[in-house]
Amino acid sequence: GENVGLHLPTLSVQEGDNSIINCAYSNSASDYFIWYKQESGKGPQFIIDIRSNMDKRQGQRVTVLLNKTVKHLSLQIAATQPGDSAVYFCAENGENAGNMLTFGGGTRLMVKP
């Protein structure tokens, strides 16, 4: 294995339960947000995104919620599975143009069978 997630906050959930991963972003000018999943030994994988004109967006088993008032983003995973075990990062575009992103610190999700 490798040290991705070694020093990151950890969320431990039981298989089948719902998971909620939180992210506080810093730049009030950000208008685009992404959640990435990084499994051990792999690069970050796009999960879901949301623009600031929305407060909720749903995908397959995942929902992203955006609260611009308190600059908070969350990722909800329904019926968490062992394959969901990974490190999750939020990213924001800040004041940048041209696809540049700033990444949050990350949360390690551990799913107990």
Binding site: E2, N3, V4, G5, L6, H7, L8, Y32, I34, Y36, G41, K42, G43, P44, Q45, F46, D49, F89, A91, N93, G98, N99, M100, L101, T102, F103, G104, G105, G106
Partner: protein, 113 residues
């Protein structure tokens, strides 16, 4: 999304040497990026690789240490020069996708002894 490959996938190098990492995309992309992910940490942008011109470096990263090439719209290299143990990290390339997102390669895991 684009398919992105990186070479080498991992390497162990001696201090004082240099390593060049390659990033290949299966389609032409306008913007490519290089990130560093130190053990247990999030992603930090090193530079934007510009096709046909010098890369744009973020604060704390300089061309002499991290020279970057971008000869065409599907390929880029990052060199880590005069390496020290502090350079041990995962190095990731990414490309700009639709909706302002980025898609990542699998990463290159570098250990410097």
């Amino acid at each position: 999304s684009a398919v992105i490959s990186q070479k080498p996938s991992r390497d162990i190098c001696q201090r004082g040497t240099s390593l060049t990492i390659q990033c290949q995309v299966d389609s032409q992309v306008t913007m490519m990026f290089w990130y560093r992910q130190q053990p247990g940490q999030s992603l930090t942008l090193i530079a934007t690789a510009n096709q046909g011109s010098e890369a744009t470096y973020e604060s704390g990263f300089v061309i002499d240490k991290f020279p970057i090439s971008r000869p065409n719209l599907t390929f880029s290299t990052l060199t880590v020069s005069n390496m020290s143990p502090e350079d041990s990290s995962i190095y990731l390339c990414s490309v700009a996708g639709g909706r302002d997102t980025q898609y990542f390669g699998p990463g290159t895991r570098l250990t410097v002894l």
